[in-house]
Symmetry: C2
Subunit: 371 residues, 2 copies
């Protein structure tokens, strides 16, 4: 069995990913980033185009990404569109439209479908997106793919590949919050549940919200890409934290050819509810923050000179500096890492990517235990 990385490498190896010849300069950014960037019309060579197109696609599968016995159809519909849209936020692109392929068992085509569409419509209105196409099928499991698109001014697209040594590393919001929400569902509010369920009671709503209905940082992304007082991109690289900080920061480092140093004390972490601080649950806020997936926050790098232009929060999301970009480290690469973590006690250790690999586990949990 191949790992996800091996499968993706194989796909890129066998399928054509670069248009041939000069006429192929329409593809500004192909496979390997959060989204593809396509410059319409440059192949004609005689038109001024207004914008670069940004496109991304995500599958959302029963039993892999969600559990229909645990997650409400409304939440599934909301999150299906939200998580796909997060890839556009990471590029600094305004979302505009989406396409949906939806496959359903026959007994999900009435009440369940109504709830699902209600949640998806709420997300669509929130992000200002319209459905422009799709198809439906009958299938034994609920499966769907959401393809999202929008456009950005030329040269106003954020990628993973521009981080430079000396750049400061920032993250929005709190890391590990979505994973904590998932753990509460998987373990129960007392940490002892044997089957996943969403706990009732309003006191859990705030803790579950980052998992069930993540905020998507569209406004922050657009701000960083050029919708700021300087009218220029302020971030040199950006990604959304979908697989966990250790994996997503590694993506930025790989694409940019750099290493990173982050400080445990600086990373914005969740507070565990009292019931989950008991012995036996073993949840650790730092591990949740480093390896928990699906936060859909933005992780980005900013040159030191531009750092003073960053407000404390943008679009309602708090911005926190958690580290600094360093030159590529050979010593780190020997241990398959690109990140140095300075722990609470001041010691520095390599941090290999330990986020989510869809081929390593059945449900969306980190590669290694986060306990």
């Amino acid at each position: 069995m191949r790992s996800e990385t091996e499968i993706i490498e194989r796909i890129w190896q066998v399928l054509p990913t670069q248009p041939a010849g000069r006429a192929g300069d329409w593809l500004r950014l192909g496979v390997g980033d959060d989204a593809a960037v396509i410059r319409a019309g440059t192949s004609a060579g005689r038109h001024t185009t207004a914008s670069d197109w940004v496109l991304s696609t995500d599958a959302y599968l029963e039993g892999v990404h969600f559990l229909p016995d645990v997650h409400s159809p409304d939440d599934i519909g909301y999150k299906a569109l939200a998580r796909a849209t997060s890839d556009l936020a990471a590029m600094g692109t305004a979302p505009r439209f989406f396409l949906l392929t939806l496959a359903l068992p026959s007994d999900r085509t009435e009440k369940w479908l109504n709830g699902f569409l209600k949640g998806m419509a709420r997300a669509a209105r929130k992000f200002g997106m319209v459905l422009v196409g799709g198809d439906t099928s009958r299938f034994r499991s609920i499966t769907m793919t959401v393809t999202v698109g929008g456009w950005s001014p030329n040269h106003g697209v954020l990628t993973r590949g521009g981080a430079m040594p000396g750049d400061l590393i920032y993250v929005s919001g709190t890391l590990g919050a979505a994973q904590l929400g998932l753990e509460i569902i998987l373990r129960g509010p007392d940490g002892k549940s044997k089957s996943p369920r969403t706990p009732a009671g309003s006191q859990w709503g705030k803790l579950l919200q980052p998992h069930l209905r993540p905020n998507i940082q569209v406004e922050l992304g657009r701000w960083l890409a050029g919708q700021n007082p300087s009218k220029k991109p302020l971030a040199t690289a950006a990604i959304d934290t979908s697989d966990g900080l250790s994996t997503d920061l590694n993506h930025i480092c790989e694409a940019s050819g750099v290493s990173a140093r982050i400080w445990a004390t600086k990373i914005p972490r969740v507070q565990l509810p009292k019931a989950l601080q008991r012995r036996g649950t073993k949840l650790d806020p730092l591990n949740l923050a480093l390896h928990g997936g699906e936060d859909y926050q933005l992780l980005f790098t900013v040159p030191p000179k531009a750092a003073s232009k960053l407000p404390q929060s943008i679009g309602g999301a708090q911005i926190t500096q958690i580290g600094v970009i360093e030159p590529r480290s050979k010593a780190l690469r020997k241990v398959n890492s690109r990140i140095k973590l300075v722990g609470f006690n001041g010691t520095t250790t390599p941090l290999p990517p330990q986020g989510w690999d869809p081929f390593s586990t059945a449900m969306r949990t980190p590669k290694k235990s986060i306990t």
Copy 2:
């Protein structure tokens, strides 16, 4: 349980499908045609854009659209991309790129994946497309969604909605050929097989090819849309025959607000192999042509004045006139039909849509028996 039509109507009812206000004029054609058409940059209002974008998405699911025990991974890979690309052909658009979400069981990630990618790469090279994005997941069934895109000159996109009374109705290639290939696999070459399998022997290759590896009418579509000596669109409406003639012609009639009259004698039909002409198999060439799915030919309408400009074949596909567009008929609508079929004996009967509904059957076969 809702039918596919009811599900789609519900989706369009609940999800936003029209951008708000004047700034929304970027959406030239939303849900309801073969593909969406989006004019980039017009929302800015001060740029000349070179082209309209055309986007379409299709799910391809194990047990619904293909059977991994019967269809080779190479054929599955080829057809997954080909059938999605057919929607671009129907719009007259040159295909450029695709995105792929691919979910696989662990035991399909090595040899099977290699074969699948080989077939998909062959299709990509044939159509001149490159992969620009996607994702992979582990899942209990092989499922995928292919999103395809390209661009066309402004006003050079074919839609379903422009057919006018008096226009002549044409179709490319032979209808029912893909359904015949599927029937040979489902029934066996002698019409008596109890479980589906692809018959060995080179004599079956030509009969199976339309089902396993359909030709996609990209060149014909582009020719009709403006890549012809007149440099103008020659077709007033077009669709690809994916669900069967009775269903797809009905789509054109509905979108255009017209009815249609077709002649059984004119419809290009398959010849049944001798073994399948025996009593008991009950396959009928006309029924295969009227209701068989997945031919991926182009069905299009041309004003009588322009008909003389049509060559006998375009891009290797023979062109046949099969009928004529007529004004909307109230009598037909009473029997839920928009098509009159003139039979071999000269009698005229209403032809209701009887093509494939993915919610009515498990495998891709017509709604009603084609026997």
